[in-house]
Symmetry: C2
């Protein structure tokens, strides 16, 4: 049914363009080669000449083909391939309190606003059918078993969903029982409960740098300190740095996003995971592993959870896994889970005292969606869409942002981390962009120490529309204006560069 | 539709019995009077003689009628009218840490178990139609607006629901704007957020004694201390005691359940509310008002919220109102709200950092349920059912429990607080009862100081079945056995009463 739907909704010329891109990507049409003539392609694909012309125009707009007079269309080198990646981060070596909460709340409020292109959110919304499927399961379950909802759900969550999560984690390399799992209201709540279970106010925790601002917020809310670890944009946190942190006993816990990191899109290599788990076991320090994007990596197989490298029973594990479906099925369901290892009793108790339990019906519907294979099918569909959108967004940024911009090469998820020229203030850029109807996420919120002021995070998970395409040139123009204003100020009489 | 359904499901003789009870309750048939003869009533109500006989047998079983040979049936005095109420509580005068969490978690886990008569829960489940109605609204909303669920809900909650809550609070005497309201995952989460916003670990907070164990749990989780206030089973906490607490600056906040208290069922008089609000304003101490049972009081009008006595704009108020629909519509929805007064910004931020927001769809459905008048109609229906069930349960307890038992006279909700003879250990009673398939809530969990060991809380909100009727005689037998065992032990040689 979805296929029919998607075919009937996509114009034919877009289908043709997609086929050409596939030929470019798989090497059939290498960079510099001449694309088939309009006429021959029309015959070959059994479409009209005007359809092929429309497809080639689209590919020209997207920077994939370049027309040469009297000669036809040629495959262009991708601009983004000439753009550098960010370097390994170098955060301060001491732990600090976290205090930029108000900006984060402002951002969170903006994300939901109608009329704003939400490039600042981290919201995978390319397809609404998984939401429809889960909602429809909710309807049928509520009709067939209304009394299930007449009582409080158990604190650890509905057994049917815990069974499905345990089954799902086989592909993450983990042998789990439903009793190892606690269902939460989203993955952030899971991280909150884990940190509560293993820390006291005033303790320090190690984090990647940059890292998801929600984690920093939790650290602030619990009165903890953040120790940021140098982090590579492809392979994640430096194990050497962590070794020092552990040996000097600088932290009480560590919170990482090893799979399709937010905001970097990095995947920690298997060997690093193995080593890291050995380190946390030796140091007797809990590793809180945020797996919220792990089901969205571009190249199968799905990465093994760090938990899978911790041998022995789950009830002895130092790895506390946190996950959920906000990035895959729908954020509005607010369903996450926690696999707290040796702290399962503490986390269950805290979940109960916090808000008793997660709502019943979404849990039952999600369990059925997973059981019937809907979740798996959905993932296969969306990851290829996200991959394509991340590539297209990188192209647009390469084209419209200043030359010395750096862009990550995400290996999963739908986020891009963009390093703008040093002089850029992304909070100012954010304020200007909102007035133009575009939200971005300024880099400062990804650090406890005010770093990354010249960085922004861009969401590529939106429903792809012409407005999204136009948002990047709009941002590019604002950036150019801000740079020009900065340069003019620098050359004005009386300007003191040291005060900049 | 509901009427038809309920008529077709209730046997005719129960309808007849209900009519007789109404005549007793409204004084048409006073205590001691002779009920109409079987034959005359059959003619009058146009039912068969055997139906009237069945109805009279039921009323005899329920202790409402007493047969006298050759004379007919007579109206009995209610046993519960001869049973005393508990006295004003007398908790210790110093604040203490809270630490009986494991017992509470065990209870919470039991509540959801199939095959257990959940007299230990606090779960109003007499009718499933409100759940069905809300679920059906969820279905239609998800069909008509699927994309609403493709993004994160705003941290404060969906505007439509906040508008409805603001409108609803007009009958609580409050003038609110939607911006004064934060939607939460249940009322307990609202209390948690309020306490986080206004206290620091180590602070003391004033509570009723006994009070809802979830509040004590939150106090424990946040590292606070509990100062229990002497509390009257009809009118609530002693204002004199609070005056001393405020003047000596012993607490940083106060958490009360002024309307249909859990577990006492008390309603704080309006004059006390007015005085209390003046006191908290003068002392500059936030009053957290748990209103979760406020829509379930037996005698209209619904009590005015303490907030309504705090003049001036909501954004200046010292009263932080917490409420929700877990006791009215369905606990499985996990929807609550907070009206944090002058701390609205802090509470919104903490809600965002805790778990981003409450799920979208249940919020929208509940808003529509309230808007269409469904919530109001539902309340009118269930409160009369709860009132009847509370009375019936009191009768059963009066009949089957020891003579010196004391029972509260709830003015709303569906809970009874039962004071058993001093020597009873309700934790032991709980353990024995669970083996017989009946859960109760032992009194110790309602105190920070281990008080109320001889008390239990009984849920009258269950779907009323013959199993529920039989659970109280079962408990009565267990209590008698425990008392006998105690007395035997006391008369055994070598027994030292001082060690009891």
């Amino acid at each position: 049914m979805e296929n029919t739907q998607s075919k009937s909704q996509t114009p034919l010329y877009e289908d043709v363009a997609r086929q050409i891109i596939e030929m470019i990507d798989n090497g059939t049409l290498p960079v510099g080669s001449r694309a088939p003539s309009v006429r021959s392609l029309a015959v070959q694909l059994k479409v009209s000449v005007s359809t092929v012309v429309a497809a080639y125009r689209l590919l020209e707009d997207q920077g994939r083909l370049q027309p040469r007079p009297q000669s036809g269309f040629y495959v262009r080198a991708l601009r983004r391939e000439n753009v550098e990646e960010p370097l390994m981060s170098r955060p301060p070596e001491t732990a600090s309190a976290v205090t930029v909460g108000d900006l984060r709340l402002l951002l969170l409020t903006e994300f939901g606003q109608p009329g704003i292109i939400g490039l600042g959110a981290s919201n995978g919304a390319v397809s609404d059918w998984s939401i429809k499927a889960v909602h429809s399961l909710m309807s049928s379950i509520s009709r067939s078993q209304p009394l299930l909802s007449a009582s409080y759900p158990p604190p650890a969550g509905m057994a049917t969903l815990r069974r499905q999560v345990a089954r799902w984690y086989i592909r993450a390399g983990c042998k789990l029982s439903p009793d190892d799992i606690v269902i939460t209201c989203g993955a952030l709540e899971a991280i909150h409960l884990c940190l509560r279970a293993v820390t006291q106010p005033g303790d320090a925790v190690a984090l990647e740098s940059p890292t998801y601002w929600g984690i920093l917020q939790t650290v602030e809310m619990l009165g903890l300190k953040a120790l940021e670890i140098p982090t590579h944009p492809r392979t994640g946190p430096s194990l050497d740095a962590l070794e020092v942190v552990f040996s000097q006993k600088l932290v009480k816990a560590i919170v990482l996003i090893p799979s399709a990191h937010n905001p970097l899109g990095s995947i920690m290599p298997e060997e690093n995971r193995r080593q890291l788990v050995a380190m946390v076991r030796k140091a007797d320090i809990p590793l809180i592993e945020d797996e919220i994007y792990a089901d969205l990596v571009f190249e199968p197989p799905r990465p093994r959870s760090c938990r899978s490298f911790d041998e022995g029973p789950s009830s002895q594990s130092h790895v506390m896994v946190c996950g959920g479906v906000s990035k895959t099925v729908a954020p509005s369901l607010r369903i996450g889970w926690c696999i707290p290892g040796k702290w399962v009793k503490e986390v269950t108790r805290m979940k109960a005292w916090l808000n008793i339990a997660a709502p019943t019906l979404p849990q039952l519907a999600l369990a059925q969606f997973m059981d019937e294979g809907g979740y798996d099918r959905h993932l296969r569909k969306v990851t290829s869409i996200y991959r394509r959108q991340v590539e297209r967004m990188s192209e647009l940024i390469a084209e419209h942002f200043p030359r010395d911009t750096r862009i990550t090469r995400p290996q999963g998820g739908f986020l891009l981390w963009v390093e703008l020229p040093e002089i850029m203030d992304s909070v100012t850029l954010h304020d200007r962009a909102i007035q133009k109807g575009v939200s971005i996420c300024p880099g400062v919120v990804f650090s406890a120490t005010g770093k990354y002021r010249n960085c922004i995070r861009i969401n590529c998970g939106l429903l792809w529309t012409p407005e999204v395409e136009r948002a990047i040139p709009t941002l590019g123009k604002l950036i150019a204006e801000l740079i020009e204003a900065h340069q003019n100020a620098a050359t004005e009489p009386g300007y003191d560069a040291t005060q900049c």
